[in-house]
Amino acid sequence: MGRRSTLRLVFAVWALIALLPMLAMLQRSLMPDGRITLSTYTQLFASAREWTLLGNTLLLAGATAILAGLLGLPLSVLLARTNLPGRRALFALFVLPILLPPSVLAYGWVALLGRDGPLGGLLGSSGGTFLFGPAGCLIVFVASFLPVVLLFTAASLLAANPRLEEAARLCATPSSVLLGITIPQVLPAFVMAVLLLFCLVLGETGAPTFLRVNVYAVESLAQFAAFYDFSSATAAACPLLLVVLLAFWGLHLLGVRPSAVLQAPSTGRAPEPFQLGRSGSRLAVLAGALWAGLAGLPLAALFLRSAAPRAYVAALAAAGASFGRSFSFAALGASLIVLFGLLIAYGRMIGALRQGTEMLTLFLFAVPGPVLGIGLISLWNRPATNGIYGTPVILLLGYLAQYVVLGDWITKAALASIPRSMEEAAAAAGAGWARRLTTIAMPLAWKGLAGAWLLAFLFCFRDTGIAMVVYPPGRDTLTVRLFTMMANGRPEVIAALCMLILASVAAPFAVLGILDARSRQ
């Protein structure tokens, strides 16, 4: 089989793994008893409660997107394009929450402002009861998903052609250049980030459940887990899928294409940072205070609550096995993601796959985890496929479907940085495409591949949405165990477990940072 056919086949396999569960879910909701009927939907939507729930969910996701957008755009400019003191460290701190399940931050906020929390006394006798509601959920979501806006917008800011700004600097002040040239350049990336964030919030279950906010993803999960009403669970999942589809249609109408949003820098020279002058230090303090307010203080409260060593011993005793499983599942998942991502990115680079395939991998990233999980069960829960359904394989398929975009985008950037002549020289020497890929392209792009693997590992490790639905009996992951313990565990043990999760994601994150710093040198 030739190079193009093989790469197309790889993409087709991934697309089947990712899309068949959705189709199976639709079929299950439309044919609960073997005949086509809309009864599940009519029953579900006859209830005013469902409409209210959907409205509240969209409101919460919309409010999070607006707030994170309002904070994220200026913050991205400040951290990526100015000479702000400590901007690299601040950027890493602001990005850190995306690597944690939002339920960790939710627990941190309650640990901080609850009646026994260090700042709980400031709020009077009611303590932080407001956290148990939409307001608390909004704070947690903004802190957790702000990094999506930061990462997309900052990447676009750094990839912009510096000549465009220089041409403007000849006739306009720095603020006019920023507003008239720089920001319009990154608007597509910003819009895409905000819409993606909106979709990601739709799928969150852990934090809303803990904060007692009933959102649609929780409803879908409850229908499945609490009532084991699978038809209703699938019917409840479909509206979320429809909303994500509409969001992506909106992106298409706006003309925003992933390939156009994240491009490699057009010249070797990085754009010149905007000078902040004397206000730089004050802005750095403000940014630091914002991070402390969103994520730093809750994490510090968790640390204080978990201070006793016995809490860590108890946490490891209660969740040690889940830790091990999460590590191994995430490592396997990341390896699959990088393998498929590399082949898909390579296929697109040589023209075997269309640019539109990028939108599909991004779309799957935005599909709420529980929706994908329910789809996976719809497809694989059959006697003939119990080897998949009853084992961690189903979880790995979920990871591959949802997070392949990470492998796709990062390896694409790494492959694009290799001069085409390298591979052409190998071809002239008689090497076939597989040999060229493994002995020329992959060794030259190893830093990008390692970065993609680490990031994919982190996302699989923090995953709650898919794992919550599909984890095989008796083989829960760490995030599922945390979720269970939050309902009835001892506070100091839960806090210690949160700290252990933080340490687990911070270590690979630091490795990523070191790799990045070295590649800059």
């Binding site: 000549r163 220089e166 000849l170 306009a172 002040t173 006019s176």
Partner: protein, 225 residues
């Protein structure tokens, strides 16, 4: 009086010295070509004059006034009255042709009616009036070159810096645009500092050629002589 002047300028990037005690003078209305191989410091000289960077040592003067010296920018780029055409043209892709011309006029506080008049006049001059509301990305290479020229000249700069703007064009278009640049220079009277590694281009466009290598002037003279 000199329009543009570099006095004993040094500029380095890490351990690499781009310019090393480099001096240059361009008189009012004069056409000077900086000729030299890639990496010899030609573009760095333009960037110092434009105001994008400050010299590590030496002085930069525009219109007889010091605008940068020894690691310090005294007059920022937007107040030097210099236009520039970049190698990749750097046309703003999110603006129309008109928007590209209008941005600078607006930033300089030119009143609306005057803006319209100058844009119309300039686009008519470079024969792009019918493309005023077009996105520059959809224009041909030659038309994009003319937009870049018009964008720089609509601000009536005292000097125009050109960084190998014709290097990516085919020979026929290259010759046509050289003639156009000479016509515009004669018409508007700006000083022209033209960077190129193409000897023929330098001879065709300049009154004076400065040969640069390793950040220093090697030879200087009149192409006719």
């Amino acid at each position: 009086m000199s329009s543009l002047q570099l006095e004993g300028v040094a500029k380095g990037y890490g351990s690499r010295k781009a310019l090393d005690g480099f001096s240059l003078e361009v008189g009012e209305g004069e056409r000077v070509a900086l000729l030299g191989p890639s990496g010899c410091g030609k573009t760095t000289a333009l960037r110092l004059l434009a105001g994008f960077e400050a010299p590590d040592a030496g002085r930069v003067l525009v219109g007889g006034s010091v605008v940068a010296e020894r690691g310090r920018i005294v007059v920022p780029a937007e107040r030097r009255g210099i236009g520039m055409v970049f190698q990749d043209l750097a046309l703003w892709p999110h603006m129309t042709v008109r928007g590209n011309l209008e941005f600078g006029l607006r930033a300089q506080g030119v009143p609306s009616q005057e803006r319209e008049r100058r844009i119309h006049q300039m686009l008519a001059r470079v024969e792009l009036l019918e493309y005023a509301d077009t996105n520059p990305g959809s224009l041909s290479g030659g038309q994009q070159q003319r937009v870049a020229l018009a964008r720089a000249l609509v601000l009536r700069p005292r000097a125009l810096l050109m960084d190998e703007p014709l290097s990516n064009l085919d020979e026929e278009l290259n010759l046509k645009l050289r003639a156009e640049i000479l016509q515009l220079q004669a018409e508007f009277g700006f000083a022209l500092l033209y960077v190129t590694h193409d000897r023929e281009e330098a001879f065709a466009l300049a009154d004076r050629i400065v040969l640069v290598a390793r950040g220093r002037t090697i030879l200087e003279g009149d192409p006719a002589g």
